[in-house]
Every structure is written in structure tokens, then in C-alpha cells.
């Protein structure tokens, strides 16, 4: 049984997390961050910083990649979930949208969404309501319910991936680079959707290379590099911070260039 830590605040707390893969060395060292309930928190960092590994460690997917948590603690609303199975973590109210969407290509859109109901109780009366809410949020999916997900466009697949995660009725939604490879117009729509989801009471941890996008909609942000949290602060301040500007807006970093390009094209 997980221990109850009454002193911890609601939301996600990652404390001193050190993570490695069996096939390689450490990829995260002593990472600590908090995602207070009700907020949007952004985590940005360049390729290979360890963002995805951190999410895997939190959501229980690390084992599937032969990864190990060496040290540290993860709590969700005060309950320790360090090293818990993915299905246990989902049942506790944390849903993850995987990097690169990863829809079930041969299942229909409807079936993709219904996989999210797997952990819900059969008699859960909110199931149907949640399904309808998701279709209201993503109108395009409603017209494509019977279509195989593999044939959707990238943007539609991203919406499906988010919708499918929402079907688990999470209190905390974790998104891994939802803007990756999408056109600016779609990126805009996705950031609006993330804000709408948050406005309805779901806490959000948003991982992005697109720092501008992330800091624009987040309340608080962290910068991860080389497996360490370099700094963190209110998102509004980070957006103007010259260290962030250096790494993600002006530096030689690919992701920085991409972030700026995206920003220019969306007119921000």
C-alpha cells in the first residue's frame, strides 16, 4: 500500500529522481519539480534532455523500456506512486499522451477512445458523458468515429491521442510534445484545447521543445538539460528570461530555431 503523505500538497511532486536505462548510464539526476493541482506546468528542454524519460518514470512506462528508478520519490496527491505499474498510475488519475501520438492505427477512432475506459468501472455513469465531452472538444473526431486511426492526419491523431487519455478521466494530464511536427494552425488549436481541459479542472504537465508555446499557456515552467533541472520559475518570467532566449530562441539549438519559426508563422 502506498503511504499517505499528509503534508504534501495536491498535485504531482517529483523529488530527487535519478533514473537510468539498463543499456546506458544515468539520464536523470536528482530531478525535483512540482505540479500543483489545477495548474498548467511546462517542462522544456532540448533533444535528449530526459523529458520523455522523466514522464516514463512518473507514469510507470519506464520498465517497458528497461529503465530503472535509482533514487527519489514521486507522489500524486500525496500518495507515493514511485515505480508503480502503468495501469495502477492510470487508475490513480494520471494519464499520459505519448510523444509522437502513437494512436492504435488499426482500431477505429471510437475504439481508440474506448481503450481509455478500460480502467473505469463498468457502471461508471460518467463514461458516456466523458465520451461526449471529448467529441465536443474535438469536433473533427466526431465525424471520423468509424474510421481507422492510422488514416487520420497528424493533427487529428494528436487530438485523438489527447482524447483517448482524457477518457481515463485523469486529474493530471501529462503531454509529451503535442506540437511535434504539426502545422502552426493545429498547434494553436491544441494549445487552446489544453487550456480548455485545464479550465475544466484537470491539472496539466506539458512537455515541449516549443518553449514559447509552453510558457505562453503555463503558469510555471522548468528547463531540463542533460538530465538536470537547470532552473524554474513563473512561466511569464521564463518567457522573457535571457537564458531561455539563448537556448531556445536564439541559440544554435534546432529546437530553438523551430520554436522561433513556429512563433513567427503564428504571428506571436
Amino acid at each position: 500500500m502506498p503511504e499517505k503523505d499528509v503534508s504534501a500538497a495536491a498535485g504531482l511532486a517529483v523529488d530527487g529522481l535519478t533514473v537510468g536505462y539498463r543499456t546506458g548510464g544515468l539520464v536523470l539526476s536528482e530531478v525535483s519539480l512540482t505540479v500543483p493541482a489545477g495548474q498548467i506546468v511546462a517542462l522544456v528542454g532540448p533533444n535528449g534532455a530526459g523529458k520523455t524519460s522523466l514522464l516514463r518514470a512518473v507514469s510507470g512506462l519506464l520498465k517497458a523500456h528497461q529503465g530503472v528508478i535509482h533514487k527519489g520519490r514521486v507522489t500524486l496527491d500525496g500518495d507515493a506512486i514511485t515505480g508503480a505499474d502503468a495501469s495502477a498510475v492510470v487508475r490513480r488519475g494520471l494519464a499520459q499522451v505519448l510523444e509522437g501520438r502513437q494512436v492504435f492505427p488499426n482500431l477505429t477512432v471510437r475504439e481508440n477512445l474506448l481503450t481509455g475506459a478500460h480502467t473505469l468501472r463498468r457502471d461508471d455513469s460518467r463514461r458516456h458523458a466523458t465520451f461526449e465531452e471529448i467529441l465536443d472538444l474535438f469536433g473533427v473526431l466526431r465525424q471520423r468515429l468509424g474510421q481507422r486511426a492510422g488514416f487520420l492526419s497528424g493533427g487529428e491523431q494528436q487530438m485523438l491521442a489527447i482524447g483517448r487519455a482524457l477518457m481515463t478521466q485523469p486529474r493530471l494530464l501529462v503531454l509529451d510534445e503535442p506540437s511535434l511536427g504539426l502545422a502552426p494552425r493545429i498547434v494553436e488549436e491544441i494549445s487552446r484545447v489544453v487550456q480548455a481541459i485545464n479550465a475544466k479542472g484537470t491539472t496539466v504537465l506539458l512537455v515541449e521543445q516549443n518553449a514559447l508555446l509552453a510558457f505562453r499557456i503555463a503558469e510555471y515552467g522548468y528547463v531540463l538539460e542533460g538530465g538536470r533541472v537547470m532552473f524554474g520559475g513563473p512561466a511569464a518570467e521564463l518567457a522573457g528570461d535571457e537564458r531561455v532566449a539563448h537556448y531556445y530562441l536564439g541559440g544554435q539549438d534546432m529546437s530553438g530555431r523551430r520554436a522561433r519559426r513556429t512563433a513567427e508563422r503564428t504571428g506571436r
Partner: protein, 291 residues
């Protein structure tokens, strides 16, 4: 014409058996990524158990075989393969080959190496006459029960929560994990279903050529070209491939009798043809492209 109908009927019956065996392979492969070389041995052991218990009642035999196979499949999965999770494919394949050899040795110790009885039980040896065509009752049973099993399996996959979970897990393992699907259950259920399919195949194979013998392992391995023809990893493909192989074998043996045992190569010829013309098999889907 009557001869053709009769052969077609027999071919369909044999095809059903190959479909059931093929589905057993596919169930396990899709859920755990393991090609279970021990599956034909599961088929043979089921046949031996039923044949041994037929004198006490066919129903008992089937029941005991079902319990034993479900238990055996689940134990194999839990004790052996789960410990090998993450090891190289060779290790896992070697483990299932090892299981296969062990299973054959155990059967040889318990029942010897000569053919033993048959599993036909109430299916009997009579024939059903429809016009000028004589349809053996065993064939009628095989086709009917197989169709019922296929329908149940189809409904399971399409209509139930775990059916959807199994399909999702086969489609994208990590995404299924991220959706909270319990992979242990998915694998246990898949292996259990494979065990049940092995019993059905064992009973039918032991009634069709009317004997239970160690050669059943080789006969069951005949489902492999069926899998390639249908498209490996596709459930519909396993059924269509199984049917094709059954029909080829029986029609071939009927019409090409003067050329000796040439019909046994027909499934392999078909397999090579399919591999050249449509490498992913008739039903194997090219994965839809993700952007």
C-alpha cells in the same frame, strides 16, 4: 461433381482445424510477441488426454483437457516466458522449442510412441447423406463447432472490454500500457484462449485421420504455411489461410492421387506464391503510415 463437393467439404473440415491451430499461434504472438513453437504439442497433448478419457465419457475428456491446457498455457506464460521478458528473441524461441521437446518426451513416456485410439467419441463414424454426397459426421461436427468458436472469438474481440484491450495491445504495446491496460491480464487471457483452441484442434485432429499419435505435432506445424498465406499476425488471415491449406491438401490428394503424395507440397507452393506476390500475406496489413 459429387466427388468435388465431397472433397471440398473434407477440405473445409481440415481447413477449420488449421484455422484453429493458426489462431492459437496468432493469439499468443499478438499479445506477447512470442512465436510459441510449443503450440503443436499443446494440440497433441489435448488429443491424448481426450483419447485416454473417451472410454469414461467424451465430455469428461474434453473438460479435463480444457482445464489442463488452460493451466499449462498460463503456467508456461507466467513461469517461463514472463521471466524471459526483455530477453532476445532467440532465447524466447529456444525456450518454446525446449517446451515442445519436453512435451513430446512426456507424452512418449506416458503413452508410448505408437498411435493410441481416437478422439471421435460421439462424433461417430457415420456419414450424413445429402443427395449423392456422403458427408462424414466428424466433418459436420468440426465445421459446426469451429464456426461457433470463431463466432464467439469474434464477439469477444468486438464486444468486450478485454477483447478491445487485446486488440489495442497487439496494435501498440506501449500505448496500451499508457491507457492503463493491464498487460499481465491481456497475456494470460491470450494464452488461455490459445489453450482452449489447442483442445478443439486436438480433438478434431484426433478424430479426422482417426488416430492420436506423435505425428500430430508435424500435422499441426502444417498450420505455418497457412499463417504465411493469410498474413502472419492477422486473425482473419489465420482463418482464410487455414481454409486454403485444408482445401489444397484435400482437393490435391483427391485429384492428384496418381502423382503420389504431391499434394503435401501444395500449401508450400501457395505460400511461396503469396510471398512473392504479396509478401505481407492476403490479410497482413501494411501499417498505416503515421506522420
Amino acid at each position: 461433381m459429387d466427388n468435388f463437393l465431397q472433397l471440398t467439404f473434407q477440405g473445409m473440415a481440415l481447413g477449420c482445424v488449421y484455422a484453429l491451430i493458426g489462431l492459437g499461434f496468432v493469439m499468443v504472438f499478438k499479445s506477447s510477441g512470442v512465436f510459441n513453437f510449443a503450440h503443436p504439442v499443446f494440440v497433441m497433448i489435448s488429443a491424448y488426454i481426450v483419447a485416454a478419457l473417451v472410454p469414461h465419457g467424451f465430455g469428461w475428456g474434453v473438460l479435463v483437457a480444457l482445464v489442463c491446457m488452460a493451466a499449462l498455457a498460463i503456467v508456461c506464460e507466467k513461469i517461463i516466458l514472463r521471466r524471459l521478458a526483455g530477453r532476445s528473441l532467440y532465447v524466447v524461441i529456444m525456450a518454446t522449442l525446449g517446451l515442445s521437446v519436453m512435451g513430446q518426451a512426456v507424452v512418449a513416456m506416458a503413452w508410448g510412441v505408437n498411435p493410441r485410439g481416437s478422439t471421435e467419441g460421439p462424433m461417430g463414424r457415420g456419414v450424413l447423406r445429402v443427395g449423392g454426397v456422403a458427408l462424414p459426421w466428424t466433418g459436420v461436427w468440426i465445421i459446426t463447432v469451429s464456426l461457433v468458436l470463431l463466432a464467439v472469438l469474434y464477439l469477444f474481440f468486438q464486444r468486450t472490454r478485454y477483447g478491445l484491450a487485446l486488440r489495442a495491445a497487439a496494435d501498440h504495446h506501449e500505448a496500451a500500457l499508457a491507457q492503463g491496460i493491464n498487460m499481465r491480464w491481456v497475456q494470460t487471457i491470450s494464452w488461455g484462449i490459445a489453450g482452449v483452441l489447442a483442445v478443439a484442434a486436438g480433438v478434431f485432429l484426433g478424430a479426422f485421420p482417426r488416430r492420436v499419435s506423435p505425428d500430430m505435432v508435424d500435422t499441426a506445424l502444417g498450420a505455418l504455411p497457412a499463417l504465411v498465406i493469410g498474413g502472419f499476425g492477422s486473425l482473419a488471415g489465420a482463418v482464410v489461410g487455414g481454409m486454403s491449406v485444408g482445401l489444397l491438401l484435400v482437393l490435391g490428394s483427391g485429384y492428384l492421387a496418381e502423382y503420389g503424395g504431391v499434394h503435401v507440397v501444395l500449401p508450400y507452393v501457395a505460400m511461396l506464391l503469396v510471398l512473392t506476390l504479396r509478401p505481407s500475406g492476403l490479410f497482413g496489413h501494411h501499417e498505416a503510415e503515421r506522420i
